[in-house]
Amino acid sequence: MNQRTRVTSPQTRLAQRRGSDAMGRLSHLAGRPPVPSSAIDLAAAERALRRQRRLAVRTAAGLLLALAALLAAAVLTPGRLGWAVLFFAPYPVLLALAAAHVRRAERIEDGHAAAPEDAA
């Protein structure tokens, strides 16, 4: 940590980092990808996008089902047990859904980085 660091204002660093123009806009991004198309393995990227999209749709559908099931369970469970369903049950379910998604998404990315293969 003995390295000398250049001191600039955070705004300057932000502007430099973003490659912005004087107004701080991301002008270089719009319509002008900094990476030429040839630098990307387009076919592999395309496969990764498809798999991620499939996973995203599956998670969204899972969330819809989970919320519907929780709603039904809370309403149909009689008395205060129904309250308990509403007060406590949703959170572990939501956490499990999100955690499972992240694990799968990372696996897709790893697969992509190492050797893109179209397993599913």
Binding site: R17, M23, G24, A30, V35, P92, A98, A113
Partner: protein, 500 residues
């Protein structure tokens, strides 16, 4: 007076941490966006700190007392939104390198026009979200110190804008994280005490509401008493779940983590933090139903409960703690919102320099204060619900389609944003102006997300057909999903090893 002192301490501690954070920023090369080097744990705490607003700390318990246990569906929706944030938005947003939603729109569509439209939508959402925060500050200050509502609101505005001026964006992460801990400690701690102090009789009464209204005990939410509780509940769930995805100040925070993977993981951690927090509004709500059955102002129920259960010094101390927790909620959420609003005003709408940010904060605060004076009578959660409904009907489709579908065009985005913003704000306004008989129509107007979100998606996707997809659009989408060197968001001075 004890309450006022506790609130003063929270403010002083926030300013102190803010100043310390700025100093830490100077010694760390990449701070501002920076916080990129901040441990994901801090980021999750900061997001939760900003997100757990007055609606969660005060509004939920108040609504539970007034409308029934179904009020907790709000908390479920607030949390469920982060499943979608983790699955649909966090990673790609981080890779886009865009700092705000308007930035993203420009990245994806290359259109300054859409950028300005998004800036306007940010303004609407942030104002709708700010109003209830200021209302909360006003009612809490009034309760603990007897200061009239309007003076409290103006004072709160001065406090927030000056803490931002002192600390600014640079130290926001630490201050917000601190606020999450304050909220949790000052709400959870007293809650445990109160459950014990309430005694067996009142605990029993809280769990077995004698001769309670069946509408109240049913785990569904019917705000207007429309007679269609399932419809009303579903509409609130749609608004809160999808709205969380489109909240500009939340999206902004994912820029401050190390990479796309970390961004997703942070979203998961936020779910954990929210789950822990949302156990406690239930305690205040159920006890409040017994000890403060018919409060004049339901939004202050959590602050009233300690005094009703434990009279004397102990009650006063617990009340002060809860009031300070509520004020921390106001402070963190409103400063996050004001920064996003000021950013929208100075950066996206007028293309001004960053130095206009402070002016933006001042203007935003003045607007929010002025609007929250007449909003004193509206429930916090109703107003927050509208902010979520507008976000769900505008930025949720924009981000979802922009990230996952290359066919989105400038035309589609413009039409979709107009339709979504117009229908959701129009419906909310109509529900205020028309004063309809409770029924299906009143639900569809006061909780419009159920129909405005699909409408906005359809309009955006449908109208996209009438625009032209630029030849770089495919690559702009691909780059959001490919790890490593292709993604613009990960370029810059960050060492290779730290990327994705």
């Amino acid at each position: 007076m004890l309450g006022l002192a506790a609130i003063g301490l929270v403010i002083a501690a926030s300013v102190a941490i803010g100043v310390w954070g700025v100093r830490a920023a100077r010694s760390t090369p990449d701070f501002l966006v920076a916080s990129r080097s901040i441990v994901p744990g801090w980021n999750a705490l900061a997001i939760a700190g900003e997100y757990v607003s007055a609606a969660s700390v005060l509004g939920l318990a108040g609504l539970l007392v007034k409308n029934g246990v179904g009020a907790m569906w709000y908390a479920v929706g607030f949390t469920a939104g982060y499943v979608l944030v983790a699955a649909l938005v966090a990673g790609p947003m981080r890779r886009s390198g865009a700092y705000t939603v308007p930035d993203f729109a420009e990245y994806r569509l290359g259109s300054p026009r859409i950028r300005r439209m998004c800036g306007l939508v940010v303004l609407v959402i942030m104002l709708l979200y700010l109003l209830p925060q200021f209302k909360a500050a006003g009612v809490v200050l009034e309760l603990v110190s007897g200061i009239p509502y309007w003076i409290g609101v103006i004072g709160a505005g001065l406090v927030v804008s000056s803490t931002i001026a002192v600390g600014g964006m640079r130290s926001a992460t630490y201050v917000q994280a601190f606020h999450y801990l304050v909220k949790l400690a000052f709400i959870a701690g007293p809650a445990v005490f109160l459950v014990v102090l309430a005694g067996a009789g009142r605990r029993e009464a809280a769990l077995h509401p004698v001769a309670a209204d069946p509408d109240w005990t049913r785990p569904l939410l019917d705000l207007d008493g429309s007679g269609h509780p399932l419809l009303a509940t579903v509409s609130v769930l749609v608004a809160t779940t999808l709205g969380a995805m489109g909240l500009p100040h939340v999206v902004m925070r994912f820029h401050t983590v190390a990479g796309a993977r970390a961004a997703r993981r942070v979203a998961v951690s936020v779910i954990v933090l929210l789950s822990v927090f949302y156990l406690f509004p239930v305690v205040y709500g159920l006890l409040g139903r017994v000890v403060t059955p018919d409060p004049e102002e339901t939004d202050v129920v959590p602050v009233l409960v300690p005094g009703a259960i434990a009279p004397g010094v102990l009650g006063a101390v617990l009340t002060a703690l809860v009031a300070a927790g509520a004020f921390a909620a106001f402070l963190s959420t409103s400063s996050g919102l004001l920064l996003a609003l000021a950013g929208g005003l100075s950066h996206d709408l007028f293309g001004g320099s960053l130095s206009r940010l402070r002016l933006g904060v001042a203007v935003g605060t003045a607007l929010a204060v002025a609007l929250s004076l007449p909003a004193a009578g509206v429930d916090i959660n109703v107003l927050v619900g509208w902010a979520f409904a507008v976000a769900a009907s505008t930025f949720c489709p924009l981000l979802t389609l922009g990230i996952w579908w290359r066919g989105l065009t400038e035309t589609g985005a413009a039409v979709g944003l107009l339709v979504g913003a117009g229908s959701s704000t129009g419906a909310a306004l109509a529900s205020v102006v028309l004063d309809l008989e409770p029924g299906v129509l009143s639900i569809l107007l006061s909780q419009p997300a159920l129909w405005t979100v699909p409408l906005a998606f359809l309009a955006m996707a449908g109208a996209s057909r009438f625009g032209t997809v630029p030849d770089w659009a495919g690559e702009a989408v691909l780059r959001l999903h490919v790890p490593g060197r292709y993604s613009t968001g990960d370029t810059g001075a960050i060492p290779r090893a730290r990327r994705d």
